[in-house]
């Protein structure tokens, strides 16, 4: 049973934050990714550097931005520049992590944020498309994927459209297609569990489950076969102090975590 003194979104934010190592850099989107990055800065990673796609580098965020390009993302920044300059820095190898999400994901971590349906011309649902996601997923050293509403409709055998590359069709595929060596998704954080990828196959592997969740729950919610190792960790729920940071320091207006 999930403890009711924290929400799954809070847990996901804290689990995501813990993937970020101090002194590294991260390109973030709005919402949970930014909350995770800010939480890391306030706790174990004070020297984490935040990049925003639209051109803000290392701002002193006064409040949560609504857009990755809004005023807050350049507030007392060390540098305000262009979108292409951020992408160039990422390609040069300066950006360690990027957070991504999508409508669908497959066992190789390929993400679909373009469309649902089997006809590109007439999709059932049209989503935004890549935005910077494909750039981030191609160029950042590690992609951290956050997927809420973990279900077989979202965790599928084959995504309707590969918007952003995971490991494509398996080990060596990224390199074969010309993507930068040593890159790819490293973790998938869902509202049930935390996956990583098996080094020998690049197939998603259960790494940890949230308190109260069973492996069977994850299997039922996932539309593909993932690897179940012998040792499965349990994620650490947010502490009282963590929740105070989330609510009072990072999101006092209750935009991400409604009060």
């Amino acid at each position: 049973m999930v403890q009711k003194d924290y929400t799954l979104r809070e847990l996901m934010a804290v689990v995501a934050a813990k993937q970020l190592v101090d002194g590294k850099s991260v390109a973030v989107g709005t919402g949970l990714p930014l909350v995770a990055a800010m939480f890391a800065q306030k706790t174990h990673a004070p020297n984490l550097v935040i990049f925003f796609e639209a051109g803000g580098i290392a701002p002193q965020l006064p409040t949560l931005p609504i857009s990755v390009g809004d005023s807050r993302t350049i507030h007392k920044a060390l540098c305000t520049t262009t979108l292409i300059d951020i992408m160039d820095s990422m390609r040069r190898g300066f950006i360690d992590y990027a957070f991504l999400g999508g409508a669908q994901i497959d066992k190789y971590g390929n993400l679909n944020s373009t469309m649902i349906g089997d006809n590109y011309e007439y999709p059932k649902v049209r989503f935004p498309g890549s935005g910077g996601a494909n750039d981030f997923g191609s160029l950042a050293w590690e992609t951290l994927i956050i997927m809420d509403r973990h279900s077989p409709r979202r965790f599928v055998e084959k995504v309707d459209f590969i918007t952003t590359p995971g490991y494509l069709y398996g080990i060596g595929a990224r390199e074969e297609e010309g993507l930068s060596p040593g890159t790819g998704p490293s973790k998938v954080i869902t509202d049930l569990c935390l996956f990583d990828f098996a080094p020998e196959t690049k197939i998603m592997r259960l790494k940890a489950i949230h308190p109260g969740i069973k492996v069977e729950d994850v299997k039922r919610a996932t539309g593909f076969e993932f690897i179940i190792p012998d040792n499965i960790e349990t994620t650490t729920p947010p502490t009282e102090e963590d929740l105070i940071i989330l609510h009072e320091v990072i999101d006092p207006e209750g935009r991400i975590f409604p009060k």
Partner: protein, 333 residues
């Protein structure tokens, strides 16, 4: 010796301008002299934006967007525009609601970031009424950089291996120097670029505070550039800080002083989002009854003669509250 094309996408190229044609066109059509380029938005749109043009929009979809020009394009019922969806949000949505758009180079569209999806855009894309080709934000910037540099294509290291690539016009080749695989994308040279900036002089020297996003490149790559600015200043002010001039005069065709010109978007250091206005707009666009969005357009665009009337309708208090919001301070009025 050769470079074999190993794979290629099937996406349509909507903008046909080539760098060589751009040069030849520029020679004849762009003045290099310092001439007064002030005009009314109405006249600038009439003069420089034609049915069927390929349009690039400055800013970041709902940040520093040239809304006064966007509304005027809708008001003049320009048709069959192709648009660079290089993070396009409220800007493209209003154009699409107004029926001005027939094809889009998609990097980011349909979404309003945290505010969710657009009903207007979903309808038009899902029904196939608006044509599309896929790119990424990085890819679109690279294409515009190639256009600005006057080269017909550029190698990139994104999109490789994905359906995004297969629905683009990209071609995969091996680098003749290193052997590594790269994706070649065609340059992008828009017909028109519209930009909202912090300040400009009457010759078209444009300065932007904060992040430039992609406006420098888009202005350099485009045939025509129309600029609105919060403040029209003397060229002496420009000359006192020429390193801040992001777009030099010879690229610019029209300059209009238009304070609050990005509403309901966020203009950094000037005013924050008009959240309520955008939410109301989104609600109208998501209504299954199409009259809702038509009513919105009638109310905020067609029934008004120009942006001055729009601002008057919004009212001073509403606008100044957005300034307070930008500076994270409580309103006093």
């Amino acid at each position: 010796m050769e470079m074999k094309i190993l794979k290629e996408g099937t996406g349509e190229i909507f903008c046909k301008n080539t760098p060589t044609e751009m040069r030849n066109w520029t020679r004849v059509n762009k003045t290099r002299a310092l001439v007064d380029k002030r005009m009314r938005i109405k006249d600038a749109v009439k003069k420089f934006i034609k049915d069927g043009d390929y349009l690039a929009i400055g800013g970041f979809g709902h940040i520093r967007i040239p809304m006064a020009i966007i509304y005027e394009i809708v008001r003049q019922r320009v048709k069959n525009l192709s648009v660079a969806g290089h993070t396009a949000v409220q800007d493209i949505d209003v154009l699409m609601a107004g029926g001005c758009v027939s094809s889009v180079d998609i990097a980011y569209v349909v979404g309003f970031e945290l505010r969710g999806l657009s009903g207007v855009q979903r309808r038009l894309f899902e029904s196939g009424q608006v044509k599309k080709t896929e790119y990424t934000n990085g890819a679109m910037s690279y294409r515009v950089r190639a256009g600005a540099q006057g080269i017909p294509f550029i190698p990139v290291k994104v999109m490789l291996g994905t359906d995004t690539m297969m629905h683009s016009p990209g071609k995969v080749v091996q680098c003749p120097f290193t052997g590594e695989k790269v994706l070649l994308l065609p340059a992008l040279n828009p017909d028109v670029c519209i930009i909202h900036a912090h300040r400009a002089d009457m010759y078209g020297n444009v300065q932007i505070d904060g992040h430039i996003v992609k406006d420098d490149l888009q202005a350099r790559a485009s045939k025509r550039v129309i600029v609105t600015c919060e403040e029209l200043v003397s060229d002496e002010i420009i000359r006192s800080d020429p390193g801040k001039t992001v777009i030099p005069f010879y690229m610019v065709d029209a300059v209009i002083e238009q304070p609050w010109g990005s509403h309901p978007g966020n203009m950094p250091y000037k005013y924050y989002f008009d959240h309520e206005f955008t939410e109301d707009y989104l609600t109208a666009g998501r209504d299954k009854d199409l009259e809702a969005i038509d009513y919105w357009l009638e109310k905020w665009v067609y029934s008004l003669n120009d942006y001055d009337e729009y601002l008057t309708k919004l009212g001073a208090k509403r606008l100044y509250n957005l300034r307070d919001l930008e500076f994270l301070r409580a309103p006093v009025r």
